[in-house]
Structure formats: C-alpha cells, structure tokens
C-alpha cells in the first residue's frame, strides 16, 4: 500500500481527496459524514455576509440517457448560514477530526478590515487554512466579489496581500477560469503571497433552453441567469489551466486541482499535471460521499502497480511533457492501423475520415465483408478514426519508422517565423509564459516571445 498522505503548503491530510467548497460542505454534520466516508479534507462552503438564494438553482446536461449530468450548472451563492454558526461548527468538526484537513473558504467585501476580521475568526476555530474565493462567477461577482476579484489581477494580488497581513494559516487562492489567460491572475495571487492556488472554479454557462417554455435553464420565475459550470465536462479545461500554472516559473506554489474529477483516474491526471491534491464536488452531488472509497482504492492500486511509494511521487510527472505547439516534432508520424479481426464493420472510422478528416479509409470488399482499409500514404495520423471506433484496441496508431530526424517549427523556420508572427500580432502570446512577472495589466506591458 502506497502512502497517500498529502501535504498542500503545510496542510496535511490522510489522502489527497478533498471536498471542494460547495453544497456538499455546507455544514459541520455533512463534512463529518464525508470524513467518515474517507475524504481527506474539506473546504467549507464559502463563508461571508449572509446572502439570500433564489429557487431554482441547478441545471445540467447529459452525456446520454445512461450518463446523466456530465455538466452541472449552479447559481447557488455562498453559504446562507450565519457566519458564527459556520465557525462554531467548524471548530467542533476540527476538534473531532484533528487529522483531516479543514479549510475555510472565504468571501467578504473588498475591504481590508473585513478580510482581517474574518481571517482572525477562522483562525480561532482551529481550521488548517483558508481559501480565498476569487472564482464564484455568478451573483457574488455582480457585487464586486468572487470572480470579480479573480478577473482583475491587481485586485487578486491586493486582497491576497491583505489576508496574508493578518493570517498565520496557509492561504490558498481559488482562481476563476473565466479569464483570457490563467497565468495573469495566478501570478498576481502568488505576488500577493498566496501559499497555494486552487483551480478551477466554475465556468460561466447556460446549460440549455426549455424548448416548450423558451425559458433558459434554470427557470427562476420565467427568467434565468448564467451560472457556474462544473462536472466531468469541464475537466479538460481545468487540466489545461492547472498545467499552465504548473509550467509557469512565476507560479511555483502548490496547486489544488479542481474541475470534473469523477474518479481516481481523473485525480491521477490532475496530479501528473502538477496538482498536489484534488478537490471534488459534482460527483459527490451526483452519487454521494461514498465515491471516495474507489478514489482511494483505485489510486492505491495504481501507485502499487506502477511502483510508487507515495502519492507525492507522481505530482507533476507529466508537466515536462506539456509544451508549446512550436516545440512539437514536425517529423513524428503515425498512421492508423485497423485490426480486421476485431473490426465489426460499423464503418464509423470510414465516414469520420471521409467527412471529417482526410479521406484515407475507403471501404474495401474482402471476402464476403466490406472492411475499412487505411490508405497509409494519405493518413495524417490525426487519431479521429481511433477515437470514434467503438471496439477496444481495434484501431491503433502506429509510429512510422522511416521518418526524418525530430524537427520543431522553430527549427523548421530557423526561429524566424515565430518572431515575425509575434512581432506583427500585438496580442499574439504563444502561451502565458510570455507575460512578464510584473507589472501585469495593459497590453503595452506584455512582452512577446517565448520565455520557456
């Protein structure tokens, strides 16, 4: 059994699975049940000035009839319970579960004293850390809080600084993905003194429109407002943002990965791309706290199978594998190989290639069957056929041996092309690495070129 003990910026937990600040962490009794189920930590649903919620609040999209709620949209605001009640329960919970990580998510008005005050009150509960909610994209942002902070790097830096002035606990800053680049707010939070970053918060979304009433989801007396989108559908966006911060030399603080984690496999991906631990919400809203059992078990088995003694050993292992497009090998070439013994003749590869790719999988009569056959001279190795194929291991992408020596776009153009492109296109940042460390803000302060 591998060691699953995790430590994020000084906050230790028996495993890397935390509950994100959300409905499943609304009160002490819920979090206690979650800890009993096996969760290693929990970020208390954001505490702040009591708010009033609307009805209804949630809407979702389905993958298929058997795959419900692959994306969830929420317009519920921060905790609607009095702060003193939350803090009292937090203290009780921490006393009862001293080894578990208990984090207070905070959001108050943009005022130094208000932040100092709430931080002090949290410290008195014995909580292990605070998470600054700079990510909530609905409702609170209209009042200058939540993502309104995360979207303006200067604000994020300033408020983080205020908290750090008063707080002796580790400070995690939770970032919003509703930005052009995650690098700028990430760096700002680190400049403000953040001990760790957590991301992503939810994405602005409208999940759909009722085709009978013509009212978008979710209906609040005939009207709807955008909400925050989460669940398995957002995982790829989160993975990218986590990896961007993990790669950036100016955001080298621990990351708590959030966004669509539904099982241990997703968690491992977040860890590999630089997260020290993960936070989960939607899957618990769907199936309950019990899902953590397989997360722990699956992670354990994976680590054992791969020979890792500790979960910390895999953190960031895939980060060096993420690069800029221009650093990819132009001469790497794979072609699709279809195993006709496994092929069931659904012809999805054929039609996908024909109408969606490069017209290199004709159907050929072989004996009494028609098989898709790859024309290797035309195949560009795009993967589409292997993605649509419903049969496991039927279509594999095979690397061609007789290819040229590795060559990047930089090498192909002797470096000229990129320089030219970025000089001509003022807004053309190849990725977040091009942004200078300080100050950040107006386009004139952005320096172009690759920093990596």
């Amino acid at each position: 059994m591998a060691d699953l003990t995790s430590n994020l910026a000084g906050i230790s937990s028996p495993n890397p699975f935390w509950l994100a600040s959300a409905p499943p962490t609304n009160m002490g009794s819920m979090i206690e049940r979650a800890f009993d189920a096996g969760w290693g930590g929990a970020v208390w649903k954001t505490i702040g000035e009591p708010i009033r919620n609307v009805c209804s609040r949630l809407s979702s999209i389905d993958g298929s009839s058997t795959q419900r709620m692959i994306g969830l949209n929420n317009i519920e605001l921060i905790s609607d319970r009095p702060t003193e009640v939350n803090l009292r329960e937090m203290a009780q919970c921490k006393r009862k579960y001293p080894k578990h990580a208990l984090i207070a998510s905070l959001m108050v008005e943009s005022n130094r004293e208000a932040w100092h005050d709430i931080v002090k009150r949290v410290e008195d509960t014995g909580a292990d850390g605070v998470e600054l909610n700079f990510g909530c994209p609905h409702g609170m942002s209209e009042r200058g809080m939540g993502s309104a902070m995360g979207q303006v790097p200067e604000y994020a830096e300033m408020v983080t600084g205020w908290v750090k002035e008063a707080c002796s606990l580790p400070v995690i800053v939770k970032l919003t993905p509703n930005v052009t680049s995650i690098i700028a707010p990430g760096r700002a939070a680190v400049r403000g003194g953040a001990d760790a970053l957590s991301l992503i918060n939810t994405i602005n979304s409208i999940t759909g429109v009722d085709l009978d009433t013509l009212i978008p989801n979710s209906n609040v007396n005939g009207k709807a407002a955008h909400g925050g989108y989460c669940g398995p559908a957002v995982k790829p966006i989160a993975l990218n943002m986590v990896s961007e911060l993990a790669r950036d030399e100016f955001t080298q603080v621990p990351i708590s990965g959030i966004g669509g984690i539904k099982d241990w496999r997703d968690a491992v991906e977040f860890l590999l791309l630089g997260s020290t631990n993960v936070q989960v919400c939607t899957q618990v809203m769907h199936y309950g706290y019990r899902i953590v059992e397989d997360m722990i078990d699956g992670l354990n088995n994976y680590l054992d199978e791969k020979g890792f003694a500790s979960v910390n050993d895999i953190v960031g292992l895939s980060v060096p594998r993420v690069t800029n497009w221009s650093d990819l090998d132009l001469n790497y070439h794979t072609v699709a190989s279809i195993n006709h013994d496994k092929c069931i003749q659904c012809n999805l590869c054929h039609i996908a290639c024909e109408d969606g790719a490069h017209q290199c999988i004709p159907l050929v009569q072989i004996g009494d069957k028609r098989f898709p056959v790859v024309d290797e001279t035309e195949c560009v190795g795009c993967n589409l056929c292997s993605l649509v194929c419903p049969v496991p291991d039927c279509i594999t992408m095979v690397s061609l041996e007789d290819r040229g020596a590795p060559m990047t776009w930089h090498e192909f153009t002797n470096g000229d092309a990129l320089v030219q492109a970025t000089t001509e296109d003022h807004g053309g940042i190849s990725n977040g690495h091009a942004i200078t460390s300080a100050p950040v803000g107006t386009p004139s302060e952005v320096v172009h070129g690759s920093a990596s």
């Binding site: 659904c346 012809n347 050929v364 049969v391």
Partner: protein, 494 residues
C-alpha cells in the same frame, strides 16, 4: 369436438399479453443511445425494405419521434406491423454489429414499435398524398403488399382503390398474426394512415371475374396482391371431422379475442413445424390446452420455423414428434376426434440437390391421443383466379411470374406482389414488393422512374469490387422517349 373452457378469461388475457412489451420512453432512450449509428449499416442492408435504421434510432435519441416514425414509414408503410412480427433476429437485429461487440444486438424491433406507436397514437400524418395526376390504379388485396403499393401510389398522386373480400384491411397482418405478437387493432389503425391520405378501401368485396373486367376498364393499372388460398389438404381419413382445423382459419378465430367461443381441445395435435404451426401450437397452449404436440415429417434440424419461434414453443411446453407423418384421424361414433394416427419416417439418401426425402417406415404406426387437430401445412395458390387473367404467367408452383425490378407481369396492365408472387414469405417482403410495384406502375403509366426510400440498397460510394446493382429496366412508354426518362428521388414526404 366438444369445446372445453379450461381457463378463466382473465388468465387467457394474461397469456395473450404482448410477448415483447412496448418500451417506455426511458427504455427507448437507453436502447436508442446504445446504437452506434453505423454508416452503411448492416441492419439497413438486412431489412428487406431497407429502412434507414440508424437514422430512425438517432431520431428517438434526439426526441424527434415523429421524424423517426416517418423514416420508418417512408421505407415501409407497415412499419408498426413489422415492428412486432418481423423475424428481426434473422434480419436487422441478426445483422447488428453489436452481436459481435457486446453479443447483444440493439432491440430494433421494439424501437421501431416505440416510434410507430407514438406516431399512430399522436395521430400525426405519416404520408402526404401527391397532387392528383388523373390516373387510377385498382389494387386487389388489402394485405401488406397491396397496402404498401397503395400508399406509394397515393403519394405519387394516383387515385387508388383497394379491394378485399374481408371486412377489415390488412390481410394476414390483421387476420393471421399470433395474437400475443400483434392485435388486430394495430394493423387496422396502421391501414387507417392510408385512409388519411385518400386511399379508398372497398372491403367485403370479392373480386369476381366480372368485377375484374370492369376494373381493367376503369383503371390505368391493376396490382395483384391476392396472397394465397386455403390450407393444403392432408388427404387422409377423418380430415373433415369437426375437431380438425385449418391453422389460419383457427388463428382468425383467436384474433377475435372472444375467448369463450374459440374451440380448443384438451390435447391438440398440430401438423407441421413452420412459423404458422408454432403460432397455432403456442396459442392453443395459451388458451388452455393441456397438451400440444407438434407433428413433423422431418427432423428437428429441418424444422422450417425460425429458431426463436421454436424456442417460444418450447418455453410454452409444446411437445414435438419429429419424423412422424400423419396417416389418419381417428374419430369416435359421434365424429369427435380421438387420436391422430401417424407412422414413423426415415430419411432417404440425399438426391442430387442434396435434399433428403422422408419415407414412411412400414409397420411403425402409432397414435397420438388428442381431441383436436390443427393443420398447418402451407397454403395453396390462387391458381383458379389468377389463371383467368389473360397474359399472366404462373411458374410451376403457381406463383405469378414478375419482373423483379418493376413487379410487371406478362400482362402489361397487371403488376403483382406479395405471397402470390413469392409463395409466402414475411410481411416485410410483401411490403417491399408493394413499393417496387408502385414504382413499376408509375413507370408504366408515366414513363418516369421514381425511387422510394429503401427501394434498393443505399450504396453511397462505389467500391472497386462492388457488385453492380440491377437498375430497373425502363419500360417503353408511347408518349416518352428513352431520353426523357429521368430518375426522380422521392424523399420522406411524397
């Protein structure tokens, strides 16, 4: 035969409930979502009417159920019937790629039922009649071939009248399907879709030679879909006893659902082992017969019924006497059936075609005690009626000879399809022949070639080694030169 009522009507109702119950909306969605949406799909190829199966299933997935039903009815006007009675495991579902991947094909039949039921229940139009073209066609027989032909012709703008001697439309769809697969209501409601676009039905009308002469005079073409005739005679002693029944006539009585009036024996011998024989045997069992014994001259392996029909019979505890030939029906002094007298048979050496005959074994006589005998020996041909039509050619077995592309007969004004042409196959085969017949008739009358959905396999691209498909031979038309013959494609709306 003394009729006995062994079961309460309530129990019989339960016994005759749907053998494959309708999908709920949730079930249909889950099943539809399982479909891979194959391209150039094997199910579509396997369907005799070439319904675009992935297309109609995808529409169930997207909650476009009316659109789904239109895809079905576009290629097969008896889509609701076929959803229930098609031997899907031998056709679309048998070809489904999920047989190889998950060993569980998509339940295409029940999805088709879901869509077509929805359409019929919601009374949405499935067909649209074409602009009247001033031409008229008489169709003889309101079964699947005649009905299908009528729908397509009406879509093209013809005045169409169907003649049938029975009181209800639908032919064997209405009168001959096992009641636990399909009730009369389904078939009758389905045929009402054609009434909705103006197809005329003259039911309860026997087409006499005199009427036929009149129809020839009044119409531009005639489509023969007369089906088959009486059940073949057994030719043994006792065959005319009151306890001896013709399978189709007996099933017709079951279809009335007047349970107390349907004759059923305590022990029933069913002669034959085809699909109709199974229908009779299982229904006798469901009506309360204590024992049902199917008697077949050949061996189990040669049983003509589909495998799933055989399984159904077995699960209904029907017994089988293989390699047994009936030679007489023993009756008592009052004429009531006492037993079926049989002899054992033995296979002969295969002939040059590999076919094995079964000869009777001398001295092997035995009796199966029973009080009812149902004969399911296949139907005779309508030779008397058909041979009265000038120019019509019949083959050696009495089937009407037609051009396979146009269903044209030897008499230029007559086209034919269904059981009278193929000797008795599935309803879906008849529906396809009705479609091809409508195309052939239209070509004959107007010179124009139209192609309805599923008229041919939907080859989208040509392959190097692809076998060329037969293109319907253009029929010379007095008013149109060959150059004027263009192919017109008819989409869902006709």
């Amino acid at each position: 035969m003394k009729s006995f009522i062994p079961l309460e009507a309530v129990q019989i109702e339960r016994n005759f409930c749907d053998v494959a119950p309708a999908f709920s909306r949730a079930q249909a969605k889950v099943e539809a979502d399982r479909c891979l949406y194959c391209y150039d799909a094997p199910c579509t190829r396997a369907c005799p009417t070439h319904i675009d199966v992935p297309a109609f299933i995808k529409k169930i997935s997207s909650d476009n159920v009316v659109g789904s039903a239109r895809v079905i009815f576009d290629a097969n006007p008896i889509g609701a019937t076929c959803a229930r009675v098609c031997p899907t495991s031998a056709l679309c579902e048998g070809a489904c790629v999920e047989n190889t991947l998950l060993h569980k094909p998509i339940d295409i039949g029940r999805l088709q039922r879901f869509a077509t039921d929805y359409a019929i229940d919601s009374r949405r139009p499935m067909f649209f009649s074409g602009e009247p073209n001033g031409k008229s066609v008489a169709i003889i027989g309101a079964g699947p071939a005649g009905y299908s032909c009528a729908v397509y012709l009406k879509r093209l703008g013809y005045a169409v009248t169907i003649y049938d001697r029975r009181e209800l439309a639908g032919g064997l769809d209405t009168y001959g399907m096992a009641e636990y697969k399909m009730t009369q209501k389904v078939s009758v409601e389905e045929t009402n879709l054609a009434r909705g676009i103006g197809v005329e039905f003259r039911l309860g009308t026997e087409v006499t030679p005199e009427l036929l002469v009149q129809l020839e005079l009044d119409n531009d073409a005639i489509f023969l879909a007369v089906g088959l005739g009486q059940t073949t005679k057994l030719g043994v002693e006792g065959e005319n006893a009151p306890g001896v029944f013709d399978a189709l006539q007996w099933i017709e009585q079951v279809k009335t659902r007047e349970w107390t009036g349907i004759p059923v024996g305590r022990t029933v011998a069913v002669i034959g082992a085809g699909n109709t024989a199974v229908d009779a045997a299982t229904q006798a069992k469901r009506l309360g017969a204590e024992r049902v014994v199917m008697v077949y001259r050949r061996g189990e392996a040669e049983m003509p019924a589909y495998d799933y029909e055989y399984e159904l019979a077995k699960s209904d505890a029907v017994e089988f006497r293989w390699k047994s030939a009936p030679v007489g029906i023993v009756t008592d002094a009052n004429g009531a059936v006492r037993s079926l007298k049989c002899v054992e048979t033995l296979p002969t050496v295969p002939d040059e075609k590999g076919r094995v005959a079964y000869g009777m074994v001398e001295g092997s006589e035995f009796e199966i005690p029973c009080d009812m005998v149902i004969k399911a020996l296949g139907q005779s041909k309508m030779t008397a009626f058909l041979s009265g039509i000038a120019g019509l050619q019949l083959d050696g077995s009495g089937r009407v000879k037609v051009d396979e592309g146009t269903m044209a007969t030897g008499n230029p004004k007559y086209f034919a399809g269904g059981d009278c042409v193929n000797g008795g196959r599935e309803a879906v085969d008849a529906a396809q022949m009705g479609k091809l017949g409508a195309m052939g008739i239209h070509q004959f009358i107007s010179g124009e070639i139209v192609e309805f959905a599923g008229a041919r396999l939907p080859f989208v691209e040509k392959l190097p080694h692809e076998i060329e498909l037969p293109v319907p031979t253009p029929i010379a038309h007095p008013e149109a030169s060959a150059a004027e013959l263009g192919v017109k494609s008819y989409a869902a709306q006709g």
